[in-house]
Point group: C2
């Protein structure tokens, strides 16, 4: 595959220009670009510039509001809601960070419900930022119907990731952000683009048949990780990101899109806990490290997120390599 | 296998007598018996009378306090802690239910940290009870080191279940309670007892080798469901049930046991959310039903927990069948 090497700064500038050309104002363009380049910086291309055409088309078509002004309100002593004003998630997430931190420190645990937003960004930067402020955090979001329910064969749930972060004593937090499906949607799309096969656990064809062809999975349904247990998690995330907070289920989001192929609109729930308000305010950090040491004492292990933090040290100097075809697609959008 | 049929009432009375004979006072014996018979009633034998000898020995040895008087305190506006007074979990859980419901309704989301308790009970009755009061709830608990970390071969995490419940409009809540491991510990023990094999995904032998022999898995390590993603969940649960709330990690719990083979002591975290304090107080129940209808519209599906609710209608008249060997073991403990 022919690639183009870009510095992180150039990739960011390219993103901002492309988004502004397609109808985002500066704050929205920068927030989305920040999130994509955080993914590229950590070498997670499936949430990087790969998503830029989708963002650009979503705003150019008028489906997403490129001038969104998200608003924050308190629904209960420990519940905050952000109305995303029909824009992309990252700007609302930036605005909501400090109110959530403040609320969590006050009550010990708090929830943040994002509604009326388009969610195609990685979630780990959000929970990582909360853990950088000393909190433990979960994030849940739905998407479009991609994953079959346990026992079924038709897509119903989104890939419905769970993000989690825990603060560490020295250095970056422990963070993971994993789909309830065996594979992330973007990973399957990239396998299809690059002509690779996928494991048989990743999904099934349109008639429920076994397959390792990513194109057939994209026409059929993805499967939950570990079978029915992953599907249970996907179901849980639908409830948390939809009915709980008054936003859409994955299949409602697709109906709402009306076949335009735009990014999924929907809700997101974040739960943050302040360990300093639980039972071991002075010892929780050291206690967590005891677990991490025990994990790393076993040969062959690494902590979730560790690879991202390694990449993060390298890409500021190495830059990132994106497929030339993607680079051309982005150029054509400007 | 020769079995003995018991009515639910007789099974409950047998449990109370056995626990009292071994050192529980009446409130503790009844709370533990209630929880075990709820499992038997729902035909989940791995959390039923199968656990009674472990409870009985745990209290007879003096490791667990059969006269525990759990206490409830508020650590923050949305954080409650229950000190289990070194007893079994069910009594503390009964006592904490209403304070948690009240707190959650006030703040919108609340956490309940159980510490200083022995946890070998099913968690779904707790989250189900919260959903019966209209709340959405999570439960997390660790146990003993049974599960290898991702990439490793030695047991480190507990099977670390996640319980979840969502209230339903008519009828019992949607509930699941699933181990982070591919199989529950009790299921593997029962497979070993009954001479059945287990799937290769269930675990590995002492040297990391593949196996389908449950006895070899019990000597080696269990694996997370879906591989590394289940292991990530197990890691998360360790942090929530241990360092977050100031209780023990699974491997610390085993050290604390000191080789007596008693039940695992440790912590449990419950998070409850009141959907009436989020964005759709009048519509969240109907909206959840819309998802459940879409699931059930697919052939071959059922909702998590549905089998339990079916069993629950049958066992009050059919009674339950327990292995004669278990019945004899219980008789010998009285």
């Amino acid at each position: 595959m022919t690639t183009v090497n870009l510095s992180l700064e150039d990739a960011h500038a390219l993103s901002v220009t492309c988004l502004r050309t397609n109808g985002c104002d500066d704050p929205n363009a920068r927030a989305v670009a920040d999130r994509m380049i955080e993914a590229e910086r950590d070498r997670c291309p499936s949430h990087g510039l790969f998503r830029l055409p989708w963002y650009a088309k979503g705003v150019a078509s008028g489906r997403a509001n490129g001038h969104a002004k998200p608003t924050v309100e308190k629904l209960a002593p420990a519940v905050i809601r952000v109305n995303g004003d029909n824009g992309f998630a990252p700007l609302g997430q930036q605005i909501a960070h400090q109110p959530l931190v403040d609320c969590t420190r006050e009550t010990g645990i708090a929830a943040l419900a994002f509604t009326n937003m388009f969610h195609i960004a990685a979630m780990w930067p959000e929970v990582e930022a909360l853990a950088n402020d000393g909190l433990c955090a979960f994030a849940f979001t739905a998407s479009y119907p991609y994953v079959a329910p346990a026992g079924g064969t038709k897509p119903l749930y989104g890939t419905n990731p769970l993000g989690f972060a825990w603060p560490r004593k020295d250095g970056p937090p422990l963070v993971f952000d994993q789909a309830s499906s065996a594979m992330a949607r973007g990973e399957i799309q990239i396998a299809a683009r690059d002509g690779h096969s996928v494991p048989e656990t990743a999904g099934i064809g349109p008639n429920g048949e076994a397959t390792t062809d990513p194109n057939v999975v994209l026409e059929g349904a993805q499967l939950g990780f570990g079978g029915y247990k992953g599907a249970s998690l996907a179901l849980m995330v639908e409830l948390l990101a939809g009915p709980l907070i008054g936003d859409m289920l994955s299949f409602e989001s697709l109906e709402d899109d009306g076949g335009t192929g735009g990014p999924p609109k929907g809700g997101e729930l974040i739960i943050a806990l302040d360990p300093a308000r639980f039972g071991n305010p002075d010892g929780f950090l050291a206690h967590g490290e005891k677990l991490f040491e025990a994990i790393l004492a076993q040969e062959g292990t690494r902590l979730p997120g560790a690879r991202r933090f390694t990449s993060r040290k390298q890409t500021p100097s190495s830059g990132i390599d994106i497929p030339e075809s993607l680079h051309q697609e982005i150029q054509a959008l400007m």
